[in-house]
Amino acid sequence: MKLLGFIIVCLVGGFLLYGTGELPDWGDPQSPASLHLSNDYIEHAVEETQVPNLVTAVLADYRGFDTMFETAVVFCAGLACFLLLRDFRPRKDHYYRHVPTGVVLHFKDNSKRLTVGKEFEDMDKEWVPSDTVIKTVCRMLIPFIQIYALYVVAHGDFSPGGGFQGGVIFGSSLILLAISYNLKTLVKRVSEKVLSILAALGVLIYVGIGAIAMLMGGNFLDYSKLAPLIPIDPGHIRAIGMLGVEIGVGITVMAVMVIIYINIVSEGRHEEGL
């Protein structure tokens, strides 16, 4: 059976390689992809949108509808992860560490709880918090990662990057917090409710900008119609619209990444994990 699988894989791979021989060369100016639409974008995008990064101009403006549904897909991925994995049953065992002595108390009865404070701290039984060195380095690193993520979102129309990348970087900075400390630290700072609201809010911002453009008398996602609302040079209004849309994408992606991570790593309990 394994041999058969190997032969099939080799055969299909061989056919695929044979098929790629017919594809146009990389960067071929005569290929159909670069004959019609690409030239139009390259010639007119900068004067039409005032955005130096053509990729962002195409993604967020010319193909804005497409990117909107991509954001909705990311939102749906987070929703599906939540629906599949979230487990609302409370945990039975509770572990507390007495901070001055280091004695660990194990509570099997769910009704008895200790107040967590300076004397007792809540303990993960499955994930021992990491070393002081790792904690300190991560704590110093996280603000810089987050600033960089905001920079990537804000500079999406001037340099490579944008909402997706910035959102992922921001989300992974929060995940780094959970890995270097523990999951409780993250959940305490960014609660599930906040994350869910943010995930929906990002899509709402995107659709909202499109709908406002419609209310102002233009087409859906036609940013040039937003000009009366924002006191800025009307030539740059499309860039501002794109920035707003990218912020929406970034918020959704950030929240969804954290939701997926928390649900996977804690088996949906949101209590303890990596």
Binding site: F164, V168, E267, L274
Partner: protein
């Protein structure tokens, strides 16, 4: 013989891909997938698709590796077959 950089990177991509499906340790597979994504990111950057390279680096090499590790943490570390 002069080897262009993209051929070298492509060779490494194939090696990491084969290694990722043949390694028994799933944590190692997760790391190898991260390496694979990073090499793909280099390949995109060589081709001039910087936006795609950025996405590959942040999503492929960053977050998806973390998701794999999280899934391994909650399941088993060794494959059955």
């Amino acid at each position: 013989m002069h080897w262009p950089i993209d051929l070298i990177v492509l060779t490494f991509v194939i090696f990491t891909a084969i290694a990722a499906i043949s390694v028994k340790d799933l944590l190692g597979t997760a790391i190898l997938f991260g390496a694979y994504s990073f090499l793909m990111c280099l390949l995109w950057a060589v081709m001039g698709a910087v936006d795609v390279a950025f996405t590959e680096a942040s999503v492929g090499a960053g977050v998806s590796t973390v998701f794999f590790v999280a899934a391994v943490f909650r399941t088993s570390r060794r494959t059955k077959d």
